[in-house]
């Protein structure tokens, strides 16, 4: 039976309308789960000390994989033996996190038996994070998981678990098959995921449209974002219905009784000023539209993305360590994303080759591009420089030239110069 600790501070977190993780964990502890009991005990101590109580992770893992497990040990194990070891396993989630309960129970059953019963649903990268196992359980857990058809996700200097938005499965805006792309890349690059061999980590995230519901643009080294290149589809009757107030604005996002003010909410907020509403007719100058999604978001029944769909690829997003946070930079404005995604994968291989060759230890691809220049990167990827890649051209005059770009080359003879110009 688990020893239950006094947790006066944590108990305060049982109050209030938001669901309480404390209440949840307590219940499992009370049901006899020792790691849960000790987790609460150690957490209470952290609240008292205002300092965490986990040691720096040791190197633990499963044979054959270089990642997927994060080691963790308590620094007060005598007080909380149930969490003396508290390693996590990152289990690769199904794309966009749909679950069949039957299959999910395969995982929880193993976890109840061999682990702490605690999970993160989900980790920030997207994995199901099984939180707290003893070292000796790692191999069996892994083996049982794979028997059931579940595998680990990435960690370390490897490909990390790709993730994606709900996309075409339940969203009318999706321009690409987010799940299939996510799954296909995951399967194609299993080796890259499980056997860290790069300068640092690398993440793919797949968003169906520029709304970026999986935050790919901010959180993945390679963001694949659905878009289109023909015209926004307009249903003028529905436009009229919106204007008449018959359909709620923004899919009801401001309440079902909220109406569209076509001028204030749509025309005036279009960032490019390319929309016009005259004589009850909405027109869009699509050549000026930057496909920001705003008008479509406000009137989803009247406006739809075009039909010639594909993705924009943005490279280099990451958190701030070391050189400051980055967002993804537009590298490929438009690429068709059709199974088996060969064109895209060719690009990926080129990108990785370049990074592998040039990246320093613990240098993300985005930082590597910052250090060596966007031009060097796009050249390595066999892409042509186009103005879409930048917000604006350079404003400093420090332009590099290669020797073969300049007639006569770089080699000059000072005596030739002095023939014309006395010292």
């Amino acid at each position: 039976m688990a020893k239950l600790h006094d947790t006066p501070m944590l108990d305060e977190l049982e109050k209030g309308p938001w669901p309480s993780f404390v209440t949840d964990i307590k219940k499992l502890a009370e049901a006899g789960n020792e790691p849960c009991a000790d987790l609460l005990g150690q957490l209470e101590l952290s609240y008292k000390d205002k300092e965490g109580h986990w040691k720096h992770g040791g190197i633990v893992g499963v044979l054959g994989y270089g990642g997927g497990v994060i080691g963790r040990y308590s620094d007060v194990p005598e007080l909380f033996p149930g969490v003396e070891h508290f390693h996590t396993l990152r289990v690769n989630q199904p794309a966009s996190k749909f679950y069949k309960t039957e299959r999910l129970r395969e995982v929880t059953e193993i976890w109840d038996r061999r682990g702490s019963g605690m999970l993160n649903m989900h980790g920030s990268t997207g994995d199901m994070v099984l939180l707290g196992a003893f070292t000796e359980e790692l191999e069996p857990i892994f083996a049982e998981l794979t028997q059931k058809g579940w595998d680990l996700g990435g960690s370390g200097s490897a490909l990390r678990t790709p993730s994606c938005c709900v996309g075409k499965a339940r969203c009318e805006y999706a321009c690409i098959d987010t799940q299939d792309i996510c799954y296909n890349l995951t399967m194609e690059f299993q080796d890259e995921m499980h056997r860290p061999a790069w300068p640092y980590k690398f993440k793919f995230k797949v968003d169906g449209c520029p709304n970026c519901c999986v935050a790919s643009l901010a959180r993945s080294d390679c963001a694949i974002i659905g878009t289109w290149r023909d015209d926004i589809r307009i249903d003028q009757e529905k436009v009229a219905a919106y204007v008449a107030g018959d359909i709620a604005a923004n899919g009801g996002g401001h309440g079902l009784d909220d109406k569209v003010d076509i001028k204030a909410d749509v025309i005036d907020l279009c960032p490019t000023g390319c929309m016009f509403y005259e004589d009850g007719k909405l027109t869009i100058n699509n050549a000026e539209c930057t496909r920001c999604m705003h008008c479509i978001n406000v009137m989803p029944q009247a406006l739809r993305p075009g039909l010639d769909k594909g993705a924009s690829i943005l490279i280099g997003a990451k958190a701030p360590i070391l050189d400051g946070a980055q967002m993804g930079s537009l590298i490929i404005p438009f690429i068709k994303m059709e199974e088996p995604y060969d064109e895209f994968k060719e690009f990926v291989e080129k990108m990785w080759d370049w990074w592998d060759e040039n990246g320093k230890n613990r240098e993300r691809i985005g930082e590597c591009i910052q250090r060596l220049g966007l031009s060097a990167f796009i050249e390595a990827c066999d892409l042509d420089p186009i103005p879409q890649m930048v917000k604006e051209p350079r404003s400093n005059p420090y332009i590099f030239y290669k020797e073969d770009e300049v007639p006569g080359g770089f080699e000059r003879d000072i005596s030739d110069y002095r023939k014309k110009h006395a010292r």
């Binding site: 989900h122 595998d151 499980h194 899919g251 009801g252 907020l269 400051g324």
Partner: protein, 361 residues
């Protein structure tokens, strides 16, 4: 068991997505026409086939037990044909294709008590967060506890649609920013404020000195001999408490009850709607750790949300609002103090200075 381990499979990848899909999702894949939010937390998506699905989005503590997950599974079994999903912000979504189940499901959720509806439309949805004191070794703050305290206070904005636009709050417990809080409307970030304390007697054994030195972005770490131990010294003037040395070297912990706490950031966004994505900017450099309910943090966030809610135009995200009114007005209206910590001194600092006579008093 040894056998199972010996025969273990590798590189099988995750289950294929469509195995996890209810029939109605499979059938209408790519055919959705539009959606409508019927009430906070309740979406309906309409397909060109005429089919409809109702999605009920419920708050979830992302840190959860198998017991809680089983509860969720049971509800899914009962109403959703054994299917459900998690959102990218760790909410749970029950999906049903039969309108008659809508009210019963709502009732079941209300009865459960731990699965409140909300997080749709112009609301504060679930807080994306990280491990905190529950698991990680480098946190300056807890994660789940802070999230709970903040969401209790903002609950009213979770199950309503009364904000000018969606407000996305994120939390990361250290500068590694696993919550990727660099692009959120409001970000809660755990910060250290003391240089690492160095365990000279063990450093050489526990860490690789050259890698440790190389890890520091400001070159604050130098090799040093201390009491005959091969170790390192940190130039405290150059340290900006990023914790990167500790990531490389366990003999250099940063955590400190008095040093650690919370920095608040505002005005980031990820979506490309209207404005381009933006980074979050510093609002409050430091708030002490106040477990268990972090009242100063909670109050400050509430204040920001309320000032924003009262002042912003419809559809305007926090960052768009601050940019329109000017950051000087953001500080004035929220009553947050501006200090030298707000002035950037990192790599692109000069691009943030005001190179104009245009400002508001």
């Amino acid at each position: 068991m040894a056998e199972i381990v010996a025969n273990k499979l590798t590189d099988i990848g995750p289950p294929k997505y469509d195995e996890m899909w209810p029939e109605v999702i499979k059938k209408n894949y790519g055919k959705w026409l539009y959606h409508e939010i019927l009430e906070p937390g309740v979406l309906v998506h309409v397909s060109e086939t005429g089919d409809k699905v109702w999605s009920l989005r419920c708050a979830a503590t992302r840190l959860m037990t198998t017991m809680h997950l089983e509860n969720i599974c049971k509800i899914a079994d009962q109403f959703g044909g054994g299917f459900f999903r998690f959102t990218t912000r760790n909410n749970v979504e029950f999906i049903i294709d039969d309108e008659s189940k809508l009210e019963p499901l709502k009732k079941a959720l209300a009865d459960n008590g731990q699965l409140p509806l909300g997080g749709t439309g112009a609301s504060v949805t679930n807080i994306v967060h990280t491990q905190g004191w529950v698991h990680c070794h480098t946190p300056a703050i807890d994660a789940s506890g802070v999230v709970k305290a903040v969401m209790d206070e903002l609950f009213d904005y979770f199950n309503s649609h009364k904000l000018p636009a969606q407000v996305r709050i994120s939390l990361a417990c250290c500068l590694n920013m696993c919550g990727a809080v660099h692009c959120s409307d409001i970000s809660i970030l755990g910060v250290h404020r003391k240089p690492p304390v160095i365990e000279h007697s063990h450093l050489d054994k526990m860490c690789e000195i050259p890698t440790t030195i190389a890890a520091c972005p400001t070159a604050a770490i130098k090799p040093a001999k201390v009491d005959d131990f091969k170790s390192v010294a940190v130039n405290a003037d150059r340290c900006m408490f990023c914790g990167n040395c500790y990531t490389m070297c366990p003999a250099m912990p940063l955590a400190d009850a008095e040093g650690d706490g919370i920095a608040l950031w505002v005005g980031g966004k990820v979506s490309n709607s209207k404005s381009m994505p933006m980074f979050s900017k510093l609002a409050v450099p430091y708030i002490p750790n106040e477990p268990p309910r972090w009242p100063t943090t909670v109050d400050t966030i509430k204040k920001i949300v309320e000032v924003y809610a009262g002042d912003a135009m419809k559809y305007e995200r926090v960052g768009e609002w601050a940019q329109r009114i000017g950051w000087e007005k953001f500080f004035e209206k929220t009553g947050i103090e501006f200090s030298h910590h707000h002035i950037d001194d990192y790599r692109f600092a000069a691009t943030t200075w005001r190179t104009s006579t245009q400002f508001k008093w």
